[in-house]
């Protein structure tokens, strides 16, 4: 997994609440057996016209935001399905962090597995950042994951919180599975105990 330590980038405003996973990546693009190459489909229903041309009114199509690496959005971002294609598409597009008042649980967890940082902040602060982000190419934010700080375009610093384990994994680009595999003995001990207490969970096939 890619490491995430500090980024300095343009933030794009997406002032929509309940941005769902169907909006982030429509179902017709889920018929893939790869994790890569989904960036071109990110937000495709609101990003492209029927003829495939880009819609001028979609924020990431505007020249100032084409290279945005941060999204600022409304509450309950990523609600809906468990599809990891949503963070895959955002990451492949070039988004590295999302700031919103709240995130749906499954999407939130999926982001961390892919080097994408979701940051939840109080709604009034997100509203202010949304206004910052409307300043086009000047909407440059710095996100420092080690120090848990966002520096707004005017230099003001805002602190944020992230689960310490997730922070550690992102900063070091660690793979969860490798970390858990090391605990094989503990898992085996759990299984032995559970098998003694609930044998029916081990005889079913």
């Amino acid at each position: 997994m890619d490491k995430f330590t500090k980024i300095r980038a343009v933030a794009a405003p997406l002032p929509i609440t309940n941005v769902d996973t169907d909006m982030i990546i429509p179902q017709k693009h889920l018929r893939t057996i790869e994790r890569t190459g989904l960036g071109k489909y990110a937000f495709s229903n609101i990003r492209y016209n029927d003829d495939g041309s880009e819609r001028d009114d979609f924020v990431l199509n505007k020249p100032a935001y084409r290279n945005a690496e941060i999204l600022i959005a409304g509450e309950n971002f990523g609600c809906g399905s468990s599809r990891e294609h949503a963070p895959w598409a955002l990451k492949d597009f070039g988004i590295k962090a999302i700031i919103a008042p709240s995130f749906a649980d499954i999407f939130h967890g999926n982001c961390f597995k892919n080097g994408l940082l979701p940051i939840a902040l109080p709604e009034d602060i997100v509203d202010e950042m949304m206004k910052d982000a409307e300043h086009g190419a000047n909407a440059v934010f710095t996100i420092d994951l080690e120090n848990l700080e966002i520096t707004r375009p005017d230099g003001q610093v805002v602190k944020f919180e992230v689960d310490s384990f997730r922070q550690h994994c992102l900063i070091n680009g660690l793979d969860d599975i490798g970390l858990t595999m090391v605990k094989g003995d503990k898992i085996a001990a759990f299984e032995a105990k559970q098998k003694a207490q609930q044998p029916w969970l081990y005889s079913q096939r």
């Binding site: 002032p15 929509i16 609440t17 309940n18 769902d20 169907d22 909006m23 429509p26 179902q27 017709k28 889920l30 018929r31 893939t32 057996i33 790869e34 994790r35 229903n45 609101i46 409304g74 509450e75 309950n76 609600c79 809906g80 399905s81 468990s82 599809r83 990891e84 963070p87 709240s102 995130f103 749906a104 649980d105 499954i106 967890g109 999926n110 597995k113 892919n114 689960d163 310490s164 384990f165 550690h168 969860d176 599975i177 858990t180 595999m181 605990k183 094989g184 503990k186 898992i187 759990f190 299984e191 559970q194 207490q197 609930q198 044998p199 029916w200 969970l201 005889s203 079913q204 096939r205």
Partner: protein, 468 residues
């Protein structure tokens, strides 16, 4: 003497392998269901890392999301991508030795309908699947939730997940449901009350006489839509109804083991005095048949209502969201919901694709014809539901009324196969999501119960089932 615990706390505690310093736990996963859309990348990840499955016998593989529902589906799959994905599931299942129910098997269907039917879903277990509607299995008192593909791979390799304990949210619905009010209406009314983010960070326990009185099918409908209320999982304590449903199913415990299991399952209820982080109480008598008008499941009203006016919204974000939804849905504020005409009716999905749902539809449409302006599609949730419906003669009732009776799959719930709405078409649907584009690009979805969907098919507009 331990403190009184909720049902969720009990299942969680029984699965903790290790508490970690960060406040996360390594949680043991008992059962894992996989389908073609969210598993191929996980198998690929295992292959690349040279890892295997920790306990192959805990996995059940069933294709459902993009299988065709037409009679010629064995030979005609609409897209090469779908074919590749279905092929990948079959190859991966064979290569890794996973129990696999192929598309043409009579037991095939939507994973959340197949799991319970096969006795794979058991009380007190942890169940995961790369699909958010895994919450369905909570109807059996199982802690069941959707996960992303990286977590699918994590469970395959380690039989565990790294998770933080959720909060306990209790939703109690007591009293008697009125005529024409079903489990789906209860689920929608709850989401209307708590909002689509109301359950974020929580596991919901559904308590109260309404859930006790519901059949297992109805309980599955309610738990299925927990995710639409933002909760990762929903739970209903198991009871005799649960045990009766499970007994004798192919993968259920047998003989003495079944008795032993029931003994344990009887302990799976919240203790007297257990603390919830939040409690919501709803009087069953206040719930009318529900219908959604917008593009989020929380955009829901009793069928007697009118399309809301954004001007009435206090919060600017809410106002903007209503405006956006109405523009997308092509609706004017103040329109009576019962004046909204529909082009299609879809009956099926993991929310409402079970035998009880088929019976509810048959009861409404028996001896009637669907409106000539409406196309009606009924997709049973599994091959076994289809078989049962046909044994009861329901298929003929549907066909006589003018419905298209299909093979099982997810179908028009998410339009990954060929079953979808055309741009601008409006559908009364028994599925679970009315997001923009959910049933096809520019599709317009109104979520309703099976009986309400059947009524809309007959009249050609959203209809109060109590008046039909």
């Amino acid at each position: 003497m331990t403190n009184p615990r909720t049902l969720y706390d009990k299942i969680w505690d029984a699965h903790v392998v290790e508490e970690q310093q960060s406040g996360n736990s390594l949680l043991y996963i008992d059962r894992h269901i996989i389908h073609e859309v969210t598993s191929p990348q996980a198998f690929e990840g295992l292959r690349l890392a040279g890892r295997g499955l920790r306990r192959v016998e805990t996995i059940l593989a069933v294709p459902d999301h993009n299988v065709p529902t037409t009679a010629d589906r064995e030979t005609r799959i609409d897209s090469i991508e779908s074919k590749n994905q279905l092929g990948a599931l079959e190859r991966n299942a064979k290569e890794f030795g996973v129990d696999y129910i192929p598309m043409m098997d009579a037991r095939q269907g939507i994973v959340h309908i197949v799991g319970p039917e096969q006795g794979f879903t058991l009380p007190g277990t942890t169940i995961v699947c790369g699909d958010s509607h895994t919450s369905t299995h909570g109807a059996f008192g199982a802690l069941a939730f959707g996960i992303g593909t990286s977590e699918v791979e994590h469970v395959m390799a380690t039989q565990t997940l790294i998770l933080k304990r959720s909060k306990n949210l209790r939703i109690d619905v007591s009293g008697k449901l009125g005529l024409g009010v079903t489990a789906k209406d209860v689920a929608l009314a709850i989401i209307g009350k708590i909002g689509t983010a109301g359950g974020t960070g929580s596991v919901i326990e559904f308590t109260g006489s309404v859930f006790r009185d519901l059949s297992m099918e109805g309980r599955m409908t309610v738990c299925n839509m927990s995710i639409e209320g933002g909760a990762r999982a929903g739970l209903i304590a198991p009871d005799q109804k649960t045990y009766d449903y499970i007994k004798g199913r192919p993968k259920a415990p047998k003989g003495a083991e079944f008795e032993m299991a029931v003994n344990y399952w009887n302990s799976l209820k919240s203790d007297e005095g257990a603390k919830y982080d939040k409690e919501v109480f709803i009087d069953a008598a206040d719930i009318a048949p529900q219908v959604t008008w917008g593009t989020s499941p929380e955009d829901v009203l009793p069928i007697t209502g009118v399309v809301p006016n954004p001007a009435d919204a206090q919060d600017p974000d809410k106002k903007a969201s209503i405006e956006r939804a109405l523009a997308y849905m092509g609706l004017e504020p103040g329109t009576r919901l019962t004046d909204i005409k529909v082009d299609k009716v879809f009956i099926g999905s993991c929310t409402n694709g079970r035998i009880e749902d088929m019976r509810a539809v048959a009861e409404v449409v028996r001896g009637r014809k669907i409106n000539p302006s409406v196309e009606g599609l009924i997709v049973p949730g599994s091959g076994l539901v289809k078989l049962q419906a046909e044994q009861e003669g329901l298929d003929q009732v549907f066909i006589d009324a003018g419905f298209d009776w299909r093979e099982p799959g997810c179908s028009m719930c998410l339009a990954m196969n060929a079953d979808k709405l055309l741009p601008g078409q409006r559908c009364a649907s028994t599925s679970n999501r009315n997001f923009e584009g959910r049933q096809g690009p520019k599709s317009r979805t109104h979520l309703v119960s099976p009986a309400m969907a059947a009524a809309a098919a007959i009249t050609g507009r959203l209809t109060d089932i109590r008046e039909l």
